[in-house]
């Protein structure tokens, strides 16, 4: 349309400008919207990465004061990872996250399978319970669990952290696996049963391979939730079981230090690596299951 206007012979200058003006008036809102959409997206990405950039940058800062730049150094990384309280709290965090993930995945996967064939009343009731655990604010679960453990004389520590985390994560795994099950083809399982496989055999060799991506995704989410959790651990951890976030929090009370930035930067690198590896495994696993499924059906 713009070409048309330009291609017109300049019959009268005033008319051309008027047409151009009208064109602009029509186009301007669209142009503004497009610019706005792209501009805002770009600004938001800067907004999302600004704190990360600050953390990584200052972890290499050769100055005790966080706000001033004193040159490049890696000494904070050395200081962070040779400090016994950082390494021991990391160990506690990893143990808690792992145990919690195992618990949540077992309970959640079983529950999702149970929900599939449950009668309406049971399914709705159970779903209600699952959603209630998700709706309840963490701070409420945290204090309720603290009161509960204290009044039952259960000593606070790793065990209480794990079970409290696993409540929320069981719900997350249940929902993820249930979603996958809902989209799954049941004919394979029926075929397996018809061909004489035991229920357990069908589960192990037909259902589980198909569920694998959802189970792994649930496990990853459960692990990261627990690994990053602050509030629940803050209330139900005992004296000897300081997780990494709790350790960082107590350090941060004395101000942001380069050591904390170094810990954070390392953790980010580690999680990114873990996610990339998980993605690769998942993709490979998905391909593997398809092959296994074909073999299973053909061989059975």
């Amino acid at each position: 349309m713009g070409l048309q206007v330009q291609a017109q012979p300049a019959a009268s200058d005033t008319q051309t400008t008027r047409t151009e003006q009208a064109l602009w008036r029509r186009r301007l809102p669209g142009l503004l919207v497009e610019t706005w959409l792209r501009g805002q997206a770009a600004l938001l990405y800067i907004f999302l990465y600004a704190p990360i950039a600050v953390v990584v940058l200052y972890s290499f800062n050769n100055s005790r004061r966080v706000m001033t730049w004193g040159g490049f150094t890696t000494k904070w990384y050395y200081a962070a990872w040779t400090s016994p309280d950082v390494t021991s709290s990391l160990q506690i965090s990893l143990t808690a996250a792992l145990l919690n993930a195992v618990l949540a995945v077992s309970l959640g996967t079983l529950a999702a399978l149970g929900m599939r064939s449950a009668p309406r009343w049971l399914r709705i009731g159970f779903e209600g319970l699952v959603y209630t655990t998700i709706i309840t604010p963490e701070i409420v679960v945290a204090i309720a669990s603290l009161l509960y453990f204290v009044s039952l004389n259960i000593s606070l520590g790793l065990q209480t952290i794990v079970v409290t985390h696993a409540v929320y994560n069981t719900s997350i795994v249940t929902l993820i696996v249930a979603t996958r099950l809902a989209g799954m083809d049941r004919t394979l399982e029926e075929a397996s049963a018809d061909l004489g496989a035991t229920p357990f055999g069908t589960f192990w060799r037909v259902t589980l391979p198909q569920l694998y991506p959802a189970v792994l995704a649930g496990a990853l989410l459960a692990f990261t939730f627990s690994f990053d959790d602050f509030i629940l651990s803050f209330f139900v951890s005992g004296v000897g079981s300081t997780t990494l976030p709790l350790n960082l929090f107590s350090r941060l009370r004395f101000g942001v230090s380069p050591i904390i930035n170094a810990v954070a930067a390392t953790m980010l690198t580690l999680t990114l690596t873990a996610i990339v590896i998980a993605q690769l495994v998942l993709r490979k696993g998905a391909r593997g299951t398809r092959v296994a499924r074909v073999e299973e059906v053909a061989g059975g």
């Binding site: 919207v33 959409l37 792209r38 805002q40 997206a41 938001l44 990405y45 999302l48 600004a50 704190p51 990360i52 600050v54 953390v55 706000m67 309970l107 079983l110 529950a111 399978l113 149970g114 599939r116 064939s117 449950a118 009668p119 049971l122 159970f126 319970l129 655990t133 709706i135 309840t136 604010p137 963490e138 701070i139 409420v140 679960v141 204090i143 309720a144 669990s145 009161l147 509960y148 009044s151 079970v163 696993a166 409540v167 069981t170 249940t174 035991t198 357990f200 990261t224 990053d228 602050f230 509030i231 990494l244 960082l248 941060l252 942001v256 904390i260 954070a264 953790m267 980010l268 990114l272």
Partner: protein, 302 residues
């Protein structure tokens, strides 16, 4: 056929399992999770309700019994105000995430093209760092001696050090930063699933850009808006870390008030009563919200 009793034990169990009605299977599968929830979720909640009716002991402990003291204390204007301020904060925070998140989700769903997956991934990556550290990083940035303040002063936007930290503005920056993905993802899914032909039809029939958005796109993505708002609003009502780190000591919200009953004041019954109150409030609000939403959705032509 052999008699059941002569089979090995595992086979017998399997045969027995097969004879059970289907709901019994699902019950067996659901049982571990139900027991888990009963012991470690409903149990604690029940204990919280019980203790909310107890009385504070002389040394900060709990004296069991049935008292309404804690609930009476809740009507103190001081605490009512904290509740009101928290709900306001959660509401504004949710709306801020919606207003900022919708254009981003729209951009991702309609304009990102082949970079869609990468751009979506880039939204989650910051959330693989610790929540705590992300929030503290904002303290570094917003500090009056911090990065942003220095940069803005250098380019002449402001002439005094930045006075944002420990103010409501800093809290909202923290909220939008930490809750934006929870809003963007449901919106993105809704926009992505929407039938794009409806938008074209609307434009072909002569509707303008904004009319099409208001009358076609927005109503069709309303379920996404609802999910996103719920996902942000619910955890915001109990938010503890963001106001604690970025809000300083002046801005007290429900989360901090509850935590303080355990960390500083040692008034467990009152803390428990506050927790019960939050639960009840949330359940009521969420149900009203869902009811209103269903009614709005059933109005034709919205």
């Amino acid at each position: 056929m052999r008699a059941v009793s002569s089979l090995p034990f595992t086979e017998r169990v399997l045969i027995l399992l097969r004879r059970l009605p289907p709901w019994a299977h699902s019950f067996v599968l659901l049982l571990p999770a139900v027991v888990w929830y009963a012991v470690f979720f409903l149990g604690p909640l029940w204990q919280m309700v019980l203790i909310s009716f107890a009385q504070r002991g002389p040394y900060g402990g709990v004296e069991p019994g049935f008292y309404l003291d804690s609930y009476q204390e809740l009507t103190n204007p001081l605490y009512v105000n904290v509740f009101a301020v928290t709900l306001k904060m959660a509401l504004i925070g949710t709306l801020a995430c919606l207003v900022i998140g919708y254009p981003l989700a729209y951009f991702l769903a309609t304009r990102a093209g082949r970079y869609k997956t990468v751009l979506l991934l880039l939204i989650i990556v910051p959330f693989w760092t610790s929540f705590l550290i992300r929030t503290y990083a904002w303290e570094t940035i917003l500090d009056s001696q911090g990065v942003l303040s220095n940069v803005l002063q250098a380019i002449g936007v402001i002439h005094q050090p930045l006075q944002v930290l420990y103010s409501p503005v800093a809290i909202f920056i923290g909220i939008v930063y930490n809750y934006l993905p929870l809003m963007v993802f449901p919106l993105y899914v809704a926009l992505e699933r929407m039938d794009k032909r409806l938008v074209e039809a609307s434009k072909d029939l002569g509707a303008g850009r904004f009319a099409t958005f208001r009358q076609v796109t927005l109503p069709l993505t309303l379920p996404g808006v609802m999910t996103g708002c719920l996902l942000v609003f619910i955890p915001l009502t109990g938010e503890y870390l963001i106001p604690t780190i970025l809000g300083g000591s002046k801005n007290i919200f429900m989360g901090s008030l509850i935590a303080n009953q355990f960390l500083e004041v040692r008034d467990w019954p009152f803390g428990a009563a506050l927790g019960v109150m939050v639960m009840v409030l949330l359940l009521v609000l969420v149900n009203i919200y869902l009811m209103v939403f269903r009614r709005v959705q059933s109005v034709p032509g919205l």
